[in-house]
């Protein structure tokens, strides 16, 4: 832990916690955690009314997180944490070796996890929008835009999609446990408090101003409202007519 390194560095300021994750990143992350079991439970028990509503919250969150990854705080931005395959390979190769420079934000491997989960959740939501249940009682808000066969296919992919997400979540959690047990690096704490202590002085991420948060929220809720209203205008550009 930092203590030994502190002695080496001799810097008192190094131990001061750095604001790493902003509130939007943390809220979105933990809402995902809460939503997934809820979505699974409601689907499994046939409460599709609630399932569709929770799915709409998921949609708004995914849209928001993608926007936030483009214009949000620096530690939330894709461009800041996504690395090329060579950097990822080098990072993986060095995982068991000596500590390198501290990474402020997602490490190159964690970055893949973030993007993979976000893409999967987004795909899953889109499939759900077009899907229908076997009783014809419940359907996603965009189900009416596609034919019966496409809607049935969407449901089957939606069912498969959950298992894929579950698999990636398991990998995600195992990786976090690995960092905790082997690397002695607690990743969960900072995702809750937003703060992390570093052994050496680091440059703190730049937090995005409130107006950007307001803009992203407005766009995300707007997207949610548009989809909930049946995505007016979308029918014209869909490849398959209903």
């Amino acid at each position: 832990m930092p203590a030994t390194n502190d002695a080496v560095m001799g810097g008192g300021s190094a131990a001061a916690p750095v604001k790493l994750w902003d509130l939007p990143v943390r809220i979105v992350h933990w809402t995902f955690v809460a939503l997934l079991p809820g979505l699974w439970w409601t689907a499994e028990n046939g409460d599709l009314d609630t399932h569709v509503k929770l799915g709409m919250i998921m949609l708004i969150l995914v849209v928001f997180r993608i926007l936030w990854g483009l214009v949000g705080s620096s530690s939330a931005r894709f461009a800041k944490f996504l690395r090329g395959p060579i950097t990822v390979a080098r990072y993986v190769g060095g995982l068991f070796g000596k500590e390198g420079e501290p990474i402020v934000g997602h490490n190159p491997l964690g970055a893949i996890s973030v993007v993979a989960l976000l893409l999967l959740l987004g795909t899953q939501v889109i499939l759900g929008l077009f899907a229908q249940d076997t009783d014809g009682l419940f359907s996603g808000p965009l189900n009416y835009l596609v034919g019966y066969d496409a809607a049935e296919a969407a449901r089957e992919w939606h069912e498969l999609g959950f298992n894929v997400i579950l698999g990636v979540v398991v990998i995600h959690v195992v990786a976090i446990l690995f960092y905790l047990a082997v690397k002695r690096d607690n990743l969960v704490g900072p995702m809750i408090t937003g703060r992390k202590r570093y052994a050496v002085p680091v440059a703190a991420p730049t937090m995005a101003p409130l107006w950007r948060l307001a803009l992203c929220l407005a766009l995300a809720f707007g997207a949610g409202w548009w989809v909930w209203s049946g995505a007016p205008g979308l029918a014209a550009v869909l490849p398959v007519p209903a």
Binding site: G46, T134, D135, G136, L137, N143, G147, Y148
Partner: protein, 154 residues
């Protein structure tokens, strides 16, 4: 000369039809395939009603045609499940053993579908979309009522 010929044709034709019918009844796999295709027809009709009723001004002709499909299929449903056409065939089917263990209850569920589909057909016959809209939820409820007990995962 011609009479025996016609007779022979008839005999072949009858044998062909009979053969086809027997073949259909013979393999459980085919029974399951036909059953699933029929349920897909029901699903299509159900979806077309659902989609049409979402529009501000539903096309009554579409409602009528789909309601007719449901009313035609509904009375047949419980006959699509001869004993031995469940999971024991090894085919991919969601038909649960409860269908054959609780036959009276299964028939009662099927009868609810008949009642709901008949109600829908009557509503569609009036040409009043509002009546169809009012009669429609009972159909979905009858689907669910039966599926909850008698339909599992494939």
């Amino acid at each position: 000369m011609t009479k025996p010929l016609i007779g022979a044709f008839l005999a072949v034709a009858v044998a062909a039809v009979a053969g086809a019918t027997i073949a259909v009844a013979a393999t459980p796999a085919e029974t399951i395939t036909i059953r699933q295709n029929n349920f897909k027809q029901i699903g299509r009709a159900q979806k077309s009603l659902s989609d049409e009723l979402k529009k501000p001004a539903p096309d009554v002709a579409v409602l009528r045609a789909s309601a007719q499909t449901l009313a035609t299929f509904a009375p047949q449903v419980n006959r699509w499940f001869p004993r031995g056409s469940g999971k024991e065939t090894g085919a991919k089917t969601g038909a649960l053993p409860a269908i054959w263990q609780q036959t009276p209850r299964f028939n009662a569920s099927a009868a609810q579908f008949v009642a709901a589909a008949t109600g829908l057909q009557r509503a569609a016959a009036t040409g009043d979309a509002a009546r169809v809209r009012a009669a429609f939820p009972a159909v979905g409820a009858s689907c669910k009522g039966c599926h909850d007990t008698f339909k599992g995962d494939k």
